[in-house]
């Protein structure tokens, strides 16, 4: 059993081995316990500095990283682009070099351009953690999804995730969550299907090792886990689907469509949700939904990652 990650950075689940994924999930289990205590803080990362560098708006992920860092006693600094030098035209390279000059232990970056975390990881000596880049990867989301699935299934007595059927439904083309989940779940031996309108399924996605259905019913049938993705309303203007009404009718998850699913199906969503569009309110809040568990577990998984990458001396 390994006890640390190979790379100084976490750019994507594509780069993680199965052992590394399991290490992160196992570490997250012990981290979760900390969050349930009365005093939710341990000194593990005391004296470490973590910078949250967010070029895109985010509530969940940024807060989750901040709480994760603080529960481990790290000093967490948030930089949001609207108040930074970026609005004055500073390049990403210069921003990265300036942050480096302040000697942080980790930079958590979210950026609208795919490849931005990879780009700064080559400049920075400290750890770089990808909190979502363009349509590329969002590895911590995939890891918390795995954690959430595993936690639920262990309760039900399962030993491993191998063979589990997962359907990811929605805008696959623009989804970093889909890509990170596909890589990670394939490594776990899970059976991944993607579904959505053909205009939002990227070319050659099958080569990533997934099945593709444009018929949501087929994607739902027999699935152990359904992950619904947010549909961005701007996509309609680009001609990618005709209307929210039709999208919702064809691809939205509701009680009716759920009838095709397994009895004890797990429903997840990385958020933020468009209630009534890709997921109906009763399904989002219903008994199969683990959407808020995902948020809780996000903190634990991010604590695990911060600890694995910056802990120790």
């Amino acid at each position: 059993m390994i006890n640390k990650l190979k790379s100084k950075d976490l750019i994507g689940t594509k780069d993680l081995s199965l052992e590394e994924i399991l290490l992160i999930l196992d570490t997250a289990e012990s981290m979760k316990e900390i969050s349930s205590r009365d005093i939710k803080k341990v000194p593990a990362l005391r004296g470490k500095t973590i910078i949250n560098l967010f070029y895109e708006s985010s509530t969940r992920t940024r807060t989750s990283f901040e709480i994760a860092g603080k529960r481990l006693s790290a000093d967490v600094v948030n930089i949001s682009v609207s108040t930074s030098s970026v609005v004055k035209g500073e390049t990403l390279k210069d921003t990265a070099k300036n942050l480096e000059a302040m000697n942080p232990d980790a930079v958590v970056i979210r950026h609208s351009s795919s490849g931005a975390p990879d780009f700064i990881s080559k400049i920075l000596r400290c750890s770089v953690i990808n909190a979502g880049d363009g349509a590329h990867e969002h590895p911590t989301q995939a890891l918390l999804d795995l954690f959430t699935i595993r936690e639920k299934l262990v309760l039900r007595g399962a030993k491993e995730l191998k063979g589990l059927k997962v359907s990811i439904i929605g805008d696959i083309t623009h989804s970093r969550v889909a890509r990170s989940n596909i890589y990670a779940m394939n490594k776990m031996g899970m059976d991944v299907t993607v579904s959505g309108p053909s205009t939002l399924i990227p070319v050659d996605i099958e080569k990533m090792g997934v099945k593709v259905f444009t018929d949501v019913k087929k994607a739902i049938e027999g699935a152990d886990v359904i992950i619904m993705l947010r549909i961005q309303l701007e996509r309609q203007e680009k001609g990618l689907f005709p209307s929210i009404r039709e999208y919702s009718r064809l691809f939205g998850l509701n009680t009716e469509k759920l009838k095709n699913a397994k009895e004890d199906v797990i429903i997840m969503h990385p958020g933020p949700m468009n209630r009534g569009v890709e997921i109906s309110a009763d399904v989002a809040d219903g008994q199969y939904s683990l959407i808020l568990d995902q948020v809780t577990n996000g903190v634990a998984v991010r604590m695990a990652i911060l600890h694995l990458l910056t802990g120790g001396t």
Binding site: K14, K93, S113, F119, G134, M208
Partner: protein
């Protein structure tokens, strides 16, 4: 007075005259005055160049270069761009009109020609804009551009999306026998795209540009060439579809020619894999299958010309997020060895390779260059075809160091270049 030069014992390759044999060439006053075996002359001021074991070819011609001046002198100037051309074995280049201001009127053409005379080291042939400001709205004064000295017109970098305007531009240009160079890209299909659309773009999460963006415009412009009778030259062909369309059009007698660039027959989309901004150009590096089609097109003559699309950028402009990086790579100083690789790999003959770098572009642009005939201008490149070397961007004469070929080991080095009778020697790297 210019020297009298005798080039001895070189393997002379002159595709226009179907010559591939060991010959001597005698040059006087900037012209070739005699070619033949074992030439001798009594002239006292004679300079003899021993070209044994070397190939002697017409000075290379690159019909697709961005010199950036006026307007973007921080990327390249007419001086540095022509120096890069010379180092790459080129004696004539055509420069694209997307400068600032755009070369859409006589004064810009005059400026470029004047600057090239004063500071340039190779022959510079400006290409004018089809439409004012490259905006695709109204025609440039193409007649005046022609009289100022442009050799073709193009809105390179942007296509003329309005088919009616493109039709009129082609009709109008044909009055002056000016070829129309088309950058084939449907801007709606390519909108927001930064690399080829395929598995690599899917994995990297980058917006793709489908082959169809190039293919539909290639088909359109072929149809417009048929409609108007204008001479059409398709720039930087990168897809199988475009090669097929052009092959078929040629077989029907359509007046279409085309070029590709060395990167399209050397690299594929896989080069983008770690978000390498030096693999970002437009059209993008395509798939393995497209690369094969380009090679077939070069082999069967569908692709007439190898041009570089030399597109220098300042280092910091490429040292950014992939989405933000500008399109384009430099090519003048790497084109020759990459083309010679095609010969080494047995894809095309040396004569065919040299034709695509000399007489073919010359004919398309009516340059009266690209041959070693008696009375031709003495523009000659002498190449050491077996010399191995490593591409090193720090040695580039170009201001642009944006090349995906840095570090590549190649074969074939320029030894001597003669332009209008002036000799430039290049010592081994």
């Amino acid at each position: 007075m210019k020297e009298i030069i005798l080039i001895k014992n070189g393997r002379v390759i002159d595709p226009a005259n179907k010559i591939d044999t060991v010959l001597d060439i005698l040059i006087d006053n900037g012209k070739i005055i005699e070619t033949g075996k074992k030439l001798s002359t009594q002239h006292s001021a004679l300079v003899i160049i021993d070209a044994s074991d070397k190939i002697v070819v017409p000075g290379l011609i690159d019909m697709h270069v961005h010199l950036r001046e006026p307007g973007y002198e921080y990327k390249e100037t007419i001086k540095t761009g022509t120096e890069a051309a010379l180092a790459g074995g080129f004696t004539s280049i055509a420069c694209m009109p997307n400068t600032k201001p755009v070369n859409d009127n006589q004064s810009v053409t005059d400026f470029i020609l004047d600057k090239a005379r004063k500071e340039g080291v190779v022959n510079v042939y400006p290409v004018g804009a089809i439409t004012k400001g490259l905006k695709g709205e109204e025609l440039s004064e193409i007649g005046e551009l022609k009289s100022a000295g442009v050799v073709a017109i193009t809105d390179d970098g942007k296509p003329v999306m309005n088919s009616e305007l493109m039709r009129r531009g082609m009709e109008y240009a044909s009055m002056f026998d000016l070829p129309v160079i088309s950058h084939c890209e449907d801007l709606h299909l390519s909108e927001g795209g930064v690399m080829n659309e395929g598995f690599v773009s899917t994995e990297l999460g980058l917006k793709g540009i489908p082959n169809a963006a190039e293919d539909v415009m290639t088909a359109r412009d072929i149809a417009l060439s048929e409609l108007t009778g204008a001479r059409l030259h398709i720039a930087h062909v990168s897809t199988r579809g475009a090669v097929n369309l052009i092959r078929e059009a040629k077989s029907r007698g359509v007046k279409v020619t085309c070029e590709t660039a060395p990167h399209y027959f050397t690299l594929t989309e896989k080069t983008v894999d770690d978000y390498n901004t030096n693999a970002k150009m437009n059209p993008p590096l395509r798939s393995e299958d497209d690369l094969k089609a380009i090679i077939e097109g070069l082999k069967d003559g569908t692709i007439d010309v190898i041009a570089t699309d030399h597109a220098p950028h300042e280092a910091s402009e490429k040292d950014v997020e992939f989405d933000k990086a500008p399109f384009g790579i430099v090519g003048l100083e790497t084109s020759l060895p990459l083309t010679l690789k095609l010969v080494e790999d047995g894809i095309i003959s040396l004569t065919e390779a040299i034709a695509k770098l000399t007489v073919n572009p010359s004919r398309i642009l009516n340059l009266n260059k690209g041959t070693l005939s008696v009375d031709a201008d003495a523009d000659i490149s002498i190449i050491n075809p077996d010399k191995e070397w490593q591409i090193d961007i720090t040695r580039f004469k170009s201001k642009g160091k944006n090349s995906p070929f840095h570090g590549l080991k190649v074969k074939g080095l320029v030894n001597t270049v003669i332009i209008n009778g002036n000799t430039f020697n290049f010592e081994a790297h």
